[in-house]
Amino acid sequence: MLPALGRRAAGWLLCAPALAVLTAAFGWPMLLLLRMSLNTTDSDGVLVPGLSMSTYDSLATSRDTWLLSLDSLRLAAVSASVALLLCYPMALLVFRSRSRFRALLAIAAVAPLLVSGTVRVIGWLALLGDNGMVNSGLRLVGLSPVALINNWTGVQIGLSESVMPYTVLTLLAGFGRLDVRLEEAAATLGARPLRAFWAVTFPLTLPAALGAWLLAFVLGVSAFVTPKLMGGGRVFVLSTQIYDAATQTLDWPAASALSVYVLLMLLLFLLAQSALNRLATS
């Protein structure tokens, strides 16, 4: 049956179920979102249907948008960097391990994904709260407690951890070109272990590291649960602003427009990354 259809038609046919689901569950809502962002809200907060760019205009001219964006990007960038610094050695260890526990190590590294993000945040609250393990410990040794939740520090810690499993996975997948023989070859050519790492391992893993950083960054910009719960209502980023606009002030056009804005920004980063990748491999 398939040969009669031709390869191209068969390909489309095979993709059809997934395309249908994506159109219904992703494409259509996105269109609705785009449409909503073109409506306006009057001074009483009543939705005024229409085709206007005025919501975008007020977003673009508002100083808050830029401050929120900067905070969001900084939070995501720091989280991605912390996650990468912590995950890179771990991923390298797992990748190079010849132990029979290698699979176990890899599973342990991504096990947090098995737990809901909300549950993990609650775990962090228990650890970092005023009477949490960290502060109890500090008090025990006679030090004064520090505020680690309901502020930027807490969100930063929680977000860094929450993107780590993705970072490890991306790194492990990207280490494909790495081969222990290369480091051995470097050693026989007189390279000390650290030198071999910088001259061989590091450049070969750089594309994977960049990819992992970007994924963590994108996840960090769009993260909602961690900033919301660990920020305790005192940390404002783009995602929490969208949520508040949609559920508290019920300004749907503003929420939609801000969503579209975040979407475009992330798309830009992804495009920049693929352009960079092409440049690196050519």
């Binding site: 470097a186 050693a187 026989t188 001259a199």
Partner: protein, 354 residues
């Protein structure tokens, strides 16, 4: 050239209680090309890795040029190694690959480039200096790996199955090329191979390995003509293998009496024995002709290979391979199913205890 450049002294290595290399000793004179020959799992690669410092022996010593380097890490050994997979750095150009060792040694850029180009010149690849390894063919990559190992002017060159990833014809070309190159630079080389033809063709000394031990260390001709054990005879070259019992100085096999000119020491009267005969030492006997050993049989198969015809003869003692030269047309008379008489000299019977 005087003295031994490489000396391995009773090396032992085991993995998880399983001995991989056992009491292995070896001496390689300066400038020699030494082959470690054996089937996979015989410990030859582990031995090579212990010389490179990539693996540590449980006991024993590795000496290079009279210096004990057993405890030195690989980067302080000045030993050039060519890996089976070549292990070229994919992110560096061919020139940077070859110059890598010099860069690690702190040689300045211009000097480094000059010496890298010299090394590339030796393997005829100066035109490809600016390319990345993946842009080269397998044979070219292999030569870059050799140039990279030689560029550091190593005390010792190690080669781990350096030709195994190449196709048969290229392999034979590179055998000659590498041999010439090694002679030219005068490096002492130790190479690992499971290919007995490669070992015989390239090496000055062949160390045949079995289960972590060297069972024979000798020049190729000696390994082939006077194998030390039945294992060596079976591993190096093809043979007819006949079984019998020693009775009154001959090997009794079925109704036949096989004459051998050298009996292995310690083979007692009535002991079972193996007799190996190389296929090219067996002749087809014309009617009435005789030989020290004569056996009758039927032609089972003919395999024309160009220089020779490989004939398989079925006899009362099993199948016997015979190589006939195609220099004259005599082999045309041989037909499958036809009866045939085979003969060989007592000198050509290699006898081993069973």
């Amino acid at each position: 050239m005087s003295g031994s450049v490489l000396m391995l002294d009773r090396l032992n290595r085991s993995y998880g209680g399983v001995p991989v290399v056992q009491d292995l000793s070896l001496e390689a004179p300066g400038g020699a090309f030494v082959a470690l020959l054996g089937p996979s799992g015989c410990g030859k690669t582990t031995t090579l890795r212990m010389v490179a410092g990539l693996d540590r022996p449980d006991s024993g010593r590795v000496m290079v040029a009279g210096r004990d380097i057993t405890a030195l890490p690989p980067h302080r050994r000045n030993v050039g190694m060519v890996f089976q997979s070549y292990a070229l750095f994919p992110h560096l150009t061919v020139r940077s690959n070859v110059g890598f060792g010099l860069r690690m040694a702190g040689v300045g850029r211009s000097e480094r480039n000059r010496r890298a180009m010299d090394a590339l010149g030796m393997v005829g690849l100066t035109d490809h200096a600016g390319k990345k390894p993946r842009q080269l063919s397998g044979g070219q990559q292999q030569r870059v790996a050799v140039a990279r190992a030689l560029a550091i002017e190593p005390a010792l060159l190690l080669l781990d199955e350096p030709l195994s990833a190449l196709d048969a014809k290229l392999r034979e070309e590179l055998r000659v090329e590498m041999r010439l190159l090694q002679r030219r630079v005068g490096a002492t080389a130790l190479f690992v191979t499971h290919d007995q033809a490669e070992a015989l063709a390239m090496a000055d000394l062949v160390a045949v390995m079995q289960s972590g031990r060297i069972v024979q260390l000798a020049p190729p001709e000696e390994v082939f003509e006077r194998p030390a054990t039945a294992y060596v005879a079976g591993f190096v070259g093809r043979s007819a293998r006949l079984q019998g019992t020693l009775r009154l100085g001959v090997i009794e096999a079925g109704t036949l009496q096989l004459r051998v000119s050298r009996l292995p020491p310690g083979l007692g009267e009535g002991s079972p024995a193996h007799v190996f005969v190389r296929p090219h030492r067996i002749r087809l006997l014309a009617t009435g002709a005789s030989a020290d050993n004569v056996i009758e049989g039927t032609i089972l198969a003919l395999d024309y290979t160009g220089e020779t015809v490989r004939v398989v003869v079925g006899t009362s003692l099993g199948q016997v391979p015979v190589d006939l030269s195609t220099n004259d047309g005599a082999w045309h008379a041989v037909r499958p199913g036809g009866p045939v008489r085979l003969g060989w000299r007592a000198d050509d019977s290699l006898c081993f205890p069973l």
